[in-house]
């Protein structure tokens, strides 16, 4: 394992400190317990808090700021944060209108946020993101994972919250975006958890892992490596089979890198996916390409499609000012 680190135990604190100091005009860092908030507390709005294991940067800290999150709770690498972090973060950013937790659907995250919500002295609600179609959904199981669609949920709900909408409305919009969003991921290499010091899985030079999440866990299938168009076709098919969009539907297309795949390849994947969607009669009107939710140093990418409607499009387009996502229209 070659990584730019000092001590394995200090990676998180040092990286967070660097993040907070590089973006001191946007965020503030609290160290005991770990949480990040906006530099200037927002008033008169639902406080939007997310969090989860670290190693997915820029998620979630990079999405703190106007139009998106009020606070984020980073856990250890790939490990859910603990309820004391959520409680302290909520204490810091609650502005009288309740707290909305945006939580990726993993047993650990769900339970830790749930316990925090139970202990919270404020009104709260939770949006669980579960956009990963690699995992079959069922009421008897943990259900689908939350992956790159989480960024879209955070952006859209963050925008609504900025208008002063109440907790129920924010929760409802979050659930709606989640239900209209589906993702599929593919890995070309494993990642290496710093504390483990070796790749989570071994993979050959002619293989890929189809249907991976964002924690270096093996995917649904080990498959032979093939060209980009063929990979994209399989991913898009899985997504569309889930979303079943009507012909002519307007969609947002997000091609997300897991960290070690260069932009040149991500844009090539975008090109391939956008053409395919067009051929299938869909209308790609919004897009995002880059490393938005990563898996440490994994090479690979995910494709996410969100079915837009006027409300979602409007909140996607509205201004956002965070470390990792920023626009003004």
């Amino acid at each position: 394992m070659k990584k730019f680190i000092n001590q394995v135990d200090d990676v998180l604190a040092e990286s967070l400190t660097g993040f907070a100091s590089a973006h001191a005009n946007i965020v503030s860092l609290n160290l005991e317990p770990h949480f990040l908030t906006r530099r200037h507390k927002a008033e008169n709005k639902v406080a939007i808090i997310s969090g989860g294991g670290s190693g997915h940067e820029p998620l979630h800290g990079g999405y703190i700021g106007y139009g998106m999150l009020d606070a984020a709770c980073p856990g250890h690498v790939f490990t859910s944060p603990s309820p004391d972090q959520m409680l302290a973060a909520a204490e810091a950013v609650h502005a009288g209108k309740g707290v909305l937790f945006i939580v990726k659907n993993y047993a650990g995250d769900v339970m830790n946020f749930e316990m925090a919500a139970e202990m919270l002295p404020f009104e709260s609600a939770t949006v669980l993101t579960s956009d990963d179609v690699a995992v079959e959904n069922s009421t008897y199981t943990t259900g689908r994972r939350g992956v790159a669609g989480t960024v879209i949920v955070e952006k859209v709900v963050g925008s609504l919250a900025e208008t002063g909408a109440d907790l129920a409305a924010c929760k409802a919009l979050g659930d709606k975006v989640n239900s209209r969003t589906a993702s599929m991921g593919v890995a070309l290499t494993s990642c290496t958890v710093p504390a483990a010091g070796r790749p989570t899985f071994d993979i050959g030079d002619t293989e890929l892992e189809m249907g991976v999440g964002i924690h270096g866990e093996p995917g649904r299938r080990r498959e032979p490596m093939r060209n980009a168009d063929a990979i994209v076709a399989d991913m898009v098919a899985a997504i569309l089979e889930d979303l079943k969009p009507a012909a002519g539907s307007e969609v947002l297309l997000l091609v997300n890198g897991f960290a070690a795949t260069p932009l040149m390849e991500l844009y090539l994947l975008y090109n391939s996916a956008a053409k395919l969607l067009q051929d299938k009669g869909l209308n790609v009107t919004r897009s995002l390409v880059g490393n938005y939710i990563t898996a440490l140093d994994m090479a690979g990418a995910s494709i996410t499609i969100c079915l837009l409607d006027d409300e979602i499009r409007q909140h996607w387009d509205s201004p956002v000012h965070t470390a990792a996502l920023r626009w003004q229209r």
Partner: protein, 212 residues
């Protein structure tokens, strides 16, 4: 339950977890995300550092502090589950001294019920519950039947091992292994294995106490 025994157990469990690094890490790497050992180690290290401060407290407070500390230290899926176990233990102990083995068995059972509720899971889902649920059952049954402590501890150890091994052929429906579908078959669940190791260790300690 005695504070002294709890403190001894902390040391013993810490030792055995540290010795299981390679195994636990690779189990979680195979069907999870590889951090189960680190998570447990973080918990153990913190408890070890708390021993002096716990030594003078009554058992209910010790259990409650352990639960709260583990809740804010372990994280992940195992953090809230293990913490819940201790927090319920603490509540039962607070309600009335747990001293007889059948009282301990009942408290254990209540705590495992807490884990089931927190994780919305049951036996057969390839989780730590596949160790814990049969152990609770064996413990209660033998304690009710007035078995000797040695018989009880031996039976618990055996049940824990069987429960842990039973996860090997399961498809997971809860926890990260659920994402793998069929690919999880053939791998023992890391949480089932760590619970079994911990239970085994505490039973060994209890046997020493009962024979000493």
């Amino acid at each position: 339950m005695r504070t002294e025994f709890i403190l001894e157990a902390i040391t013993a469990v810490n030792d055995v977890i540290l010795h299981s690094e390679t195994e636990l890490e690779s189990l979680d790497r195979e069907i999870g995300d590889g951090d189960h050992f680190i998570n447990l180690k973080r918990g153990c290290t913190t408890l070890l550092a708390m021993r002096d401060e716990l030594a003078s407290l009554p058992p209910a407070d010790v259990l409650q502090r352990i639960g709260m500390k583990l809740l804010s230290t372990i994280g992940g899926a195992s953090g809230p589950l293990i913490a819940t176990f201790f927090m319920i233990m603490a509540k039962v102990e607070k309600a009335g001294d747990i001293s007889s083995l059948s009282e301990i068995a009942a408290a254990f059972n209540a705590s495992v019920e807490g884990i089931k509720q927190r994780g919305k899971a049951n036996a057969g889902e390839k989780t730590m519950l596949d160790t814990l649920i049969p152990v609770a059952e064996t413990f209660n049954r033998l304690a009710a039947a007035n078995a000797t402590p040695l018989e009880i501890f031996n039976a618990i150890q055996q049940t824990a091992e069987q429960g842990m091994l039973s996860t090997r052929d399961m498809i997971a429906t809860k926890g990260r292994a659920a994402f793998l579908g069929e690919r999880a078959i053939g791998h023992i669940d890391p949480g089932a294995r760590s619970s079994q190791i911990i239970i085994h260790t505490i039973c060994e300690l209890a046997k020493q106490h009962h024979t000493a």
